[in-house]
Amino acid sequence: MVEVKNLEGLEVERYTTKERIIHWWVGFSFLFLFLSGLGLFSPKFSWILTVLGGKEFVRWLHPIVGIFFMVGIVRMYLSWWRDFKLDSEDRVWLKNIKHYIRGEEEKLPPVGKYNAGQKLYGRVMIYGAVLFLISGIFMWYPLGFPKPIVRIAILVHEMVFIILGPAFIVHVYMSTLAMPGTLRAMITGKVSGLWVLSHHPKWFNEVFKK
């Protein structure tokens, strides 16, 4: 155990440069897919297609960015899937998620590098992405497949959107407004020691045990 005098000044590396590059690769491509998809999902947002460069162009680009996103998220999953495994403490954490929402983190089991919510988000994203890809291929070349399959594919694509869209909004909110000091983990790669101790105490012990 280190002697801690000034936790706030202590820099802890949370994400390597490689991890950050992959995160923003996936993040920005998802943002584009989210916005352009929203424009096609809801006629009330069809103006987004104009803003992004015109409806024909966006419709053409959406599946291409989709492939780009897919490559990124698979690469991301390969480096993080071990971290996303849920254990029994995570289940306790999820059951008592109300304390987390209220900001009473001390009432929850100590969290490692990721809390159960983050793990769940990571898993939902990769499962959703796979469903997006499969259904998306049918929608990309609808003339090459039987119509009933294409219709089901569109249905699946929209259902996945309804799950991943809100999850994405929560992710953005949690990592910026809801938790000061978090965003810089994905920009500089570093967080303060105090941040680690407050939100990820078990990881704190792992980092400083050496």
Binding site: P43, I152, E158
Partner: protein, 296 residues
């Protein structure tokens, strides 16, 4: 393609516009236009195809030996620049081998699957007279209309825009009959209001019964709310042999994704945004631990 759009209407009302609220209700009643195809008096001359091609100035590529075998048909299937096609099907009946010749084109459904599936406001329009038309200036090229159509009609060109029969709307608005009807030499095609055409079809059915046909029927599928193209089929029990779907309807998947899913989706997305704002003002940002003592 369309000569009138959802924005500029020239003396013609809108009944339904894709991905938009329903236009103003019909205070004035507009007759639904209809073309009746009397299969029993069609000789398969394909003059309707020629007239369609001429009026719309279509120039389809002449098939060569690499293309699929077409038999007596002009093409094996509809094309982006070929809006109506006579389908020749050889069928065995009690009279021996017969040709079932069916005119094949957009049916102008009362409840159009293409329009229902279309995600972009105004790209597909149904006019008060029942004609369904595409507005290419609003089309994204997503091909949802192809998936939505229960009759497999819209065809995409190489610039990713869909094409189909538009009921010769320009002719019709000028008081003329559609080109195919105008040219038909045996009066197998007739044009008028839906009511009139149904009456005429009924008479033809009676006529056919007198001639010994056991089960002649009028093809006006109810699953899509009836169609703007209706057929008299001499062999009513063999609808599919004519190349027509037996009981077409707009797929449940489309009804789901255009109905409840939109509601659930809006609720989920806006609910999440509202939830985040509420969380921020009720509980505020998460605080870090206050540490004054030494940790060990």
């Amino acid at each position: 393609m369309s000569i009138v759009t959802s924005e500029g209407t020239v003396g013609i009302v809108l009944k339904n516009v894709s991905a938009s609220p329903l236009p103003a209700g019909e205070i004035k009643k507009y007759d639904r236009l209809c073309i009746l195809v009397d299969v029993s008096s069609c000789i398969g001359c394909r003059a309707c195809e020629a007239a369609c091609r001429q009026w719309h100035d279509l120039n389809p590529k002449v098939p060569d030996e690499k293309d699929p075998f077409t038999g007596y048909q002009t093409f094996s299937d509809l094309q982006a620049n070929y809006f109506t096609l006579m389908k020749f099907n050889e069928v065995e009946t009690e009279k021996g081998v017969e040709w079932f010749i069916t005119k094949y084109q957009c049916m102008h459904c009362e409840d159009p699957g293409c329009l229902k599936a279309c995600p972009y406001p105004g790209a597909i329009i149904q006019y008060g007279n029942g004609v369904v038309d595409f507005d290419h200036s609003k089309c994204t090229g997503c091909k949802y209309c192809v998936s939505g159509c229960p009759f497999n009609v819209p065809r995409y060109d190489e610039r990713c825009k869909p094409w189909k029969c538009n009921f010769c709307l320009d002719r019709v608005l000028a008081g003329l009959e559609p080109a195919c009807v105008k040219t038909c030499p045996t009066n197998a095609l007739s044009f008028g209001t839906k009511e009139e055409m149904l009456r005429k079809a009924g008479k033809i059915v009676e006529e056919l019964k007198k001639r010994g046909y056991k089960n002649p029927v009028i093809y006006d599928p109810k699953g899509v709310g009836g169609t703007g193209y209706i057929y008299v089929l001499p062999y009513g029990e063999r609808i599919e042999d004519y190349g027509l779907p037996k009981d077409p309807s707009v797929s449940l998947a489309i009804t789901l994704w255009k109905g409840p899913l939109k509601w659930i989706g809006s609720l989920a997305l806006w609910g999440t945004v509202a939830g985040a704002i509420l969380h921020y003002i009720v509980y505020g940002p998460k605080k870090m631990k206050k540490i004054n003592k030494e940790e060990g």
